[in-house]
Structures are given as structure tokens and as C-alpha cells.
Symmetry: C2
Subunit: 291 residues, 2 copies
């Protein structure tokens, strides 16, 4: 039996202390705090210590004039991440997946917030309203235009990820760039002017040609590639007849309970390779199996 | 007895036909289609006909060289909205609330998508990566930088909106700019690196000092001021002792079932004035009451 765990990238135990972000004097004092720590990163990936936990440096690691992001308070200790400008990273940066495999979910959540914010800063050095350079604001949780003073806040892009369900089976699909054998839940961005439930129905019809009769919410998690909020749902469909959008999916198939259990346990006879435990598709499959 | 209706701004019956957006020839043909219609707007507000439905113009209303946004297909008829540049609108633009009061929810949904996109274009004329001007792309559903070719997609900002629940009562609060007598569910933006459930718990603690024991999802809807995805939840709390953040809330109070029913029916003895039916806080209160 599979026991569903909490979704990946959740369970950070730090206090985001957002009320402090606008207080520049207080943030300056926290930067000089004896217990202040700086998240160690290689490009955007975390570095793990021998205990498998996130590695941290003293604030001396930041370098003169370098900017930082206030992640929050771990007890009394203020936590920061470096905000070095770098070229935008494209794609999922799968180099980090082996690390995530063995990271504590709370550590992964803390790193995820830092990664999403750093990448957002890297793609938002200029004001979208007037085109002028912008500066870091709110201790790294916003930017402000140096010319028109427009304030810009980090993006969080809601994505629906869903299992179509029909007659005791669920639908898994293969994206065009998936590793060999991998199938997962279908997914897509929520668009302006639609609800979660409408986005689920639209995506299932667009990608697989199945009509949703009902949609139920299951769970959510952040996904820091670069900054999505994954919203996992199960949708009962009218039929199991598929019409695949081949620009999105290489294949899709309906799998029964035994097949999902085999995939989640990594059994030799599994009909597909399940997504990793830190992806909410894994949580979604496990929750469906658990009923 | 209150019977909860579907959330506001949902139930649009048009086909967004997103597969056509990248096909410039097809979009040009749709612009010239005999049945093509242009959404009539006053600034960003809809115009209603005598039947209370959205008013539409022929495409001649667009004017030479003016740009448009492809909303989708209503049967065979392609629907567009004008993309005139205008000064960004700030605040909720409550002028539209009396119209929304009598609009069909599907019409409101269609208009909401247009409003969100138009306002997004108005605030995103420049590339955030390099500061150069950008152009409309994907029939209005994206922008592309004329210099670095970076693609930019409309923002959809997820917001959690929640009722704290304790001992048969729920918590409603008064924001600083609410109309007289109005109370509603507490709400806040989901931040990078947190789940829906974590955002609910953080916001309830920050704004009202109550700790969530469990969070359950209830419903969602878009909110086009300017582009939020409202995610409505109920959170059981450990206690009902409040510590209000007075920078966010003028007041908050716990209300029992009779009080919520009185508010939703607009009874004279109601302890507060309920939010309008097109706000998901209304749906959330009605769903809680319905059990």
C-alpha cells in the first residue's frame, strides 16, 4: 500500500516575516546579525551538506555591494539568499532533480522560494510599464521602477495538473521531452478569466479530447521552474475515447489501480515510470489510489 | 435557505480556440469573418444592451490600424476585444459593480478575460528582460520583445480567500477601504514557494493572529481587478482569540450560522453587509452555510 506523503516543496518551517520587508533599517540590522546566514547556491541549485541539509554561508560570502533577498527568520536567525544577476535559465534545469530526491521537503520549499525569486529578478531588471531600469524593493520581494516608480511583484503562475478518471482508470500522458518510460498527469497554465475547474476542463479537452463532468481539488504545491503554483485535481470524464494533441503529448493511456500502484512502487511490471516524489503528479496518483 | 450559486465570472460558453492564436493567417481571416464581433467597452467597463447582455459592435468599430485581442469562438462567430492603449486603471474600479450585479455570469467571465488582458497589455508595453518595446503576439495572449525576442505571457495572480472556522462560527473582516457595513473573507496573494494551504495559514496568522489546524479547498473564480485567480478555502483554527493587523484590517468578528444567513439574505438584523454575489467570498459564505 502506498501512503501519500505531503506534496513536495511544502513544509518550510521558517517565518517569512513579511511585515519586516519594507523596514529598510530593520533589514540592514538583520544583515549584520551574528546569526545571519546566506543560502549557498551553485548557479540556482542548492548545495547540500554531508547531513543532506541545505548548506549555508556567513554573510561575508555575499561580497561587497552584492544584493540579497530576505527569506525570513529561522528562530532568531535571519536567512538570506544572494541576488547575483545571471543569464536566465531555460527549461526545468533537471540537474537539481537528484538533489531534490534526497532533500527534506521543508528545505526544498525554502530553496524553491529563493530560486523562484532569483529567476524572477533576473528576468525583470526593467519596468514593463515604461522600459526603464528597476531596483530591488521590499527586501527582494518586489522591484520598483527608478523612473516611473511602478511597483512590480514576483509572478506566481497557477498551473492545473489533473488526472482524468473514467470507469476506475486514470489518464496519464507523455510530454514530448519526458525521460524514457515516464508518464504523468496532464497539466497546463490557468489563463486570465477562467476558474481552476474551467482550466482543468479546457486542458483535458484540448490535449486529450475528453470532456470533464466534474472536477475535484486534491492538493497544491509550488514548483520553482521558474515559479508555478501547481493545483492538482481529479476530473471525472464522460468517456475514455481519446483524441490527442500531438503537439503536446507523445502518448497517453488509461491505467487501472493495479497499474498505478505498480508505477508508484517502482515494480518491474509497472506500465510506466512514475514522476518523482517531489512532483505533485506523484502525490496526485498516490491520493487517487488511497481513495 | 441560501442555495449557493456557481462562483462569479465562471460559465463562459465560448471556445477559447487557443490552437488558432499562433496562426496569423487564420486570425486575419477571422477578423474579416462576416459574423466577427467586437466587444463594446467604455474604458474597461462592459456596455450592456437592453436585454442586459454584453453589447457588441461590428469589426468596423475597431478603426484603422487599431489592435485587437481574439477572445474565441461563439459557435462560428469570432469574438474580439479592442486593445487600445490607455492609462493603467488603479484600484477595483467599482464603477462596474452595479453592472456586474445584473450580468449573466458567463458574460461576466468573457468580459473578465478581456479586461484582464487589456490591462495587462497596458502595463506591459516594454520587455522586462531588456527594457525594449514589445509587440502583441499570439492574437493578444502574449507579447514578444522587438529586440531580444523574449516572450511574455499574461499574469494570473493566485489569491487565497478564506474563512477561519472555530466552534461553529466563521471569521469575517473589514478591509480599510470597504463600503460601510461590509465585511468579507480575509484574503492575500500566494507568494513564491508556498502552497495554497500554506498561504491560507500564513495570511490568517499575519492578519488575524489565528493558527490554522486544517485547510480545505472550496471553489475558485477569476477576479479581473486586474487579474487574480481567487482560491476560496475554509480553515479550522486552534482558537478564536484574535490579534488583528491594523494595517490590513479595520475590524474582524466571528459570526454564527444565523448571522451568516441573515447577511446573505440581506435581513435587516444582519450583523454585516455581505459581499456581492459575483465575489467568491459570497459563494464561500453560502457554501459554508450549506455545510
Amino acid at each position: 500500500m502506498i501512503s501519500p506523503r505531503a506534496p513536495g516543496f511544502t513544509g518550510s518551517r521558517i517565518d517569512r516575516a513579511d511585515a519586516l520587508r519594507l523596514d529598510e533599517e530593520r533589514i540592514a540590522a538583520l544583515l549584520g546579525h551574528l546569526e545571519a546566514r546566506l543560502l549557498r547556491l551553485e548557479t540556482l541549485d542548492p548545495v547540500l551538506g554531508e547531513d543532506g541539509r541545505l548548506a549555508w554561508d556567513s554573510m561575508a560570502g555575499l561580497g561587497d555591494g552584492a544584493e540579497s533577498l530576505f527569506l525570513g527568520l529561522d528562530g532568531d536567525a535571519p536567512l538570506f539568499a544572494p541576488l547575483a544577476r545571471m543569464a536566465p535559465i531555460t527549461g526545468h534545469a533537471r540537474s537539481v532533480f537528484p538533489l531534490l530526491d534526497r532533500m527534506d521537503s521543508g528545505d526544498a520549499a525554502l530553496w524553491a522560494a529563493a530560486r523562484s525569486l532569483i529567476e524572477w529578478h533576473n528576468r525583470h531588471g526593467f519596468c514593463s510599464v515604461c522600459g526603464s531600469p528597476s531596483e530591488i524593493f521590499r527586501a527582494g520581494w518586489a522591484r520598483r521602477c527608478l523612473s516611473c516608480a511602478a511597483e512590480h511583484f514576483p509572478r506566481v503562475d497557477p498551473v492545473v495538473i489533473m488526472l482524468a478518471e473514467h470507469d476506475g482508470r486514470v489518464l496519464v500522458g507523455r510530454g514530448l521531452a519526458y525521460p524514457p518510460g515516464r508518464y504523468s498527469a496532464l497539466a497546463g497554465f490557468v489563463e486570465p478569466g477562467e476558474s481552476i475547474e474551467e482550466a482543468v476542463a479546457r486542458e483535458l479537452f484540448e490535449e486529450a479530447g475528453v470532456r470533464a463532468k466534474s472536477v475535484r481539488y486534491v492538493a497544491s504545491q509550488p514548483w520553482p521552474f521558474p515559479g508555478s503554483l501547481m493545483i492538482a485535481c481529479i476530473a471525472e470524464t464522460e468517456s475514455d475515447a481519446l483524441t490527442l494533441d500531438r503537439t503536446e503529448l507523445e502518448d497517453a493511456m488509461w491505467i487501472d489501480r493495479a497499474g498505478i500502484e505498480a508505477a508508484l512502487t517502482g515494480a518491474a511490471e509497472a506500465p510506466f515510470q512514475a514522476p518523482p516524489h517531489f512532483a505533485i503528479a506523484n502525490t496526485l496518483l498516490a491520493r487517487w489510489l488511497a481513495g
